[in-house]
């Protein structure tokens, strides 16, 4: 996971702790160079998580999480789950989908399946799981398998709150599919400090959008989606 430069990727204008173990902030997505707001990117697809330096108590994964396929899209598009969670992929479209991932440690291929409750996959290795459909190139989703129970996603205004955090040092990460991950080391409770302190006591993060919404990817066999079937003389 790359840690971006504060100067380039995120400007912390203030850091504070509303309660002893609470952290509040706002994420602003900006275009490359930071001059304009990235209005075409969805800030609600970001994930904010805190990893205490001393480790975090494991969060029990109970009922399976769900990521449905509907109108040739994954919903939700971004899902944060604890390590060991099960994720079910119900198909709500009347057409066949083939959900797969080739992300290291979390490889799976659910095969073609029709409308219905779908299939389930257990995700054991922490990290980013890129999820695709082998039939439809535009179907893209992300699952963050986290080793911490302290995570959340911001609202449409970019605001987020992490509550019930343990005291002491740790690392705060903001992840967005179109940006490089930003991380910062914090010690909770954290006093207002330095020139970036905000009187309101909240974090304002300006995150640069640097990638397209649909990342370049191949199908589950490592072949291009686009050239199969281009040749009218060959079988599809």
């Amino acid at each position: 996971m790359r840690i971006t430069s504060l100067a380039l990727a995120l400007l912390v204008t203030g850091a504070a702790v509303a309660g002893a173990e609470d952290l509040h902030g706002t994420i602003q997505l900006v275009t490359k160079g930071g001059k304009n707001a990235a209005t075409e990117s969805d800030v609600t697809q970001a994930v904010v998580y805190f990893e205490p330096a001393g480790g975090a108590p494991p969060r029990r994964a109970e009922a399976p999480f769900e990521m449905v396929t509907r109108q040739k899209q994954f919903l939700p598009r971004v899902l944060a789950v604890p390590r060991g969670a099960r994720v079910r992929f119900p198909n709500q479209d009347p057409i066949l989908h083939n959900v797969f991932s080739v992300s290291p440690g979390n490889f799976f291929d659910l095969g073609l399946y029709n409308q219905g409750p779908g299939k389930e996959q257990k995700l054991d290795k922490p990290g980013l799981v890129r999820v695709f459909c082998n039939v439809h190139h535009s179907m893209v989703a992300y699952i963050l398998v986290l080793d911490t129970p302290y995570y959340t996603q911001p609202g449409p205004d970019g605001r987020f709150s992490l509550t019930g955090l343990p005291k002491g040092p740790g690392r705060l990460t903001i992840w967005h599919e179109q940006a490089d991950p930003w991380t910062a080391s914090l010690t909770l409770p954290q006093a207002q400090q330095g020139p970036s302190a905000s009187p309101s006591g909240s974090i304002t993060a300006r995150v640069e959008v640097v990638r397209p919404r649909i990342p370049p990817h191949l199908n589950k066999s490592g072949q291009s989606y686009f050239h199969s079937g281009r040749d009218s003389y060959q079988q599809p």
Binding site: P94, S224, F226, Q235
Partner: protein
């Protein structure tokens, strides 16, 4: 010298477009083993078969163009005083135009075979209605891996393909059912022999071929070939021939291979450069190529009494010859493939010398494929998944003249064809293509004439 500099400039510009720009920071997990590798691991070949059928509605204009040839009254239909080149089958027609069987075997990434049998192929008849109907359209076995056009090769490698196959310069992803003038005239029909090639790194490739060579014959560039020289038309015991299918307004073209001709082999060579992004969504490929062979003096073609190659150019009874100078057939050309998301563009330029008769051709096709929203489905597949408008421009510039007397004056007419259409995906591999072909040619008198056609083709494949 100036031309050399220009080429060098193009090459440098092309090299500048390689990896740093196109293959930048593409976060990509490692894919699973490919299907080919999976097949190899199992030790058993993956066998796949398929069927393809095409049905079309066609409406062809009814046009006739008098030919300056002294046919005897017996050689003409009753009441006709002169011969014509005329639309093959004018009017509105519904036809089952193609039925084909496919069989593919994949033993590994480095060993695969392909067979395509045509049971009905109206558009590629040979080239008369009395020619062979059932035809082995393609039958080849390939050793090694061939990189795709406008796709990065994963590594250097070679391949050898043996059998009957499409030519390497042929457009491999047409978006209309009709053909352009260049694709018909030069490389529409398969050839028999050996093709070999090598990927030299990710971007450069070379190809070569040694094949039987397609005989030069004539056909109409619209959907149907004409009945030129069918027994009905030339049988002396049957006066006043009036075949159902007419001559067509014909151009010279490379017809279907008749047999494995070892006396007049064709050699081909191509050099290419390509680059693409990692997923093959955007890519470009340029290829320079050439072909050469010695033409047969007295070639024959099944289903026609007319000869091929030099015999055809010598005219009836060898008495009305074009100004041929030798027996060599040479072609040099360049191809361009460009893919930008759903947009695709293909262009080909050909410079040909046909026994001393020079001609050039240019063809370009652009298409844009749109994904349509999911509204209806059938059998687990989306109904109407894609829509793809396409337009094609093609031209033939014949730089030779007709003999004063010839039954086929259209050989030398300069010609422009514009095809425009729309392909609608229906479900799975079934689609409907609706298109219009505008043929504009210039007669020897300088007058422009047209011979146009509507075509709607329902294409089904399983």
């Amino acid at each position: 010298m100036r031309r050399t500099r220009r080429w060098c400039g193009c090459l440098v510009a092309a090299l500048c477009m390689t990896s740093p720009l196109w293959a930048q920071d593409q976060a990509q997990d490692q894919p699973a083993a490919s299907a080919d590798e999976a097949g190899a691991a199992g030790g058993k070949p993956q066998l796949k078969w398929g069927l393809e059928a095409k049905m079309n509605y066609r409406r062809s204009e009814d046009n006739k163009f008098p030919v300056p040839f002294p046919f005897t009254p017996d050689q003409l239909p009753v009441g006709q005083t002169k011969g014509f080149e005329e639309t093959v089958n004018a009017g509105s027609h519904i036809e089952l135009s193609g039925v084909s069987l496919f069989l593919d075997g994949v033993w590994s990434e480095s060993l695969k075979a392909h067979l395509k049998l045509d049971f009905i192929s109206l558009y590629e008849r040979n080239p008369t209605s009395t020619g062979t109907q059932t035809n082995v359209d393609e039958a080849w076995i390939q050793f090694g891996r061939e990189g795709g056009h406008a796709l990065l090769a994963t590594h250097s490698g070679i391949y050898v393909r043996v059998g009957k196959m499409g030519k390497f310069e042929r457009q491999n992803d047409r978006h209309l059912e009709s053909y352009g003038l260049v694709s018909t005239a030069f490389n529409r029909i398969e050839d028999v022999g050996v093709e070999a090639g090598a990927d030299l790194g990710q971007h450069f490739y070379v190809k070569g071929s040694y094949t039987s060579g397609n005989p030069v014959f004539m056909r109409d560039p619209n959907a149907l070939a004409g009945d030129n020289g069918t027994p009905e038309e030339v049988q002396p015991l049957l006066p006043h021939p009036d075949p159902k299918l007419k001559t067509g307004v014909v151009i010279l073209y490379d017809a279907r291979v008749q047999d494995i001709d070892q006396k007049h082999p064709q050699t081909g060579l191509a050099l290419g450069w390509r680059t693409a992004d990692i997923e093959g969504r955007n890519g470009i490929d340029i290829m320079a190529w050439g072909r050469e062979r010695k033409m047969a003096q007295d070639g024959t073609i099944q289903g026609s009494a007319y000869g091929t190659d030099i015999d055809l150019l010598n005219g009836p009874l060898d008495a009305f010859s074009f100004a041929i100078k030798n027996d060599r057939k040479r072609e040099a050309g360049g191809n361009l493939w460009l893919y930008l998301g759903g947009f695709s563009f293909f262009a080909q330029y050909v410079d040909q010398d046909l026994a001393g008769l020079p001609r050039t051709g240019l063809e370009a096709e652009a298409s844009w494929s749109f994904d349509l929203p999911l509204v209806w489905s059938l059998g687990g597949q989306q109904l109407f998944p894609t829509l793809a408008p396409a337009v094609r421009y093609s031209m033939l510039d014949n730089k030779f003249r007709n003999p004063p007397v010839t039954p086929s004056p259209s050989f030398s007419w300069d010609w422009t064809k514009i095809d425009a259409g729309l392909r609608l995906g229906i479900v799975g591999a079934t689609d409907l293509t609706v298109e219009y072909a505008n043929n504009d040619f210039i007669l020897a008198s300088g007058a422009h004439r047209n011979n146009n056609e509507y075509l709607a083709t329902l294409h089904w494949r399983m």
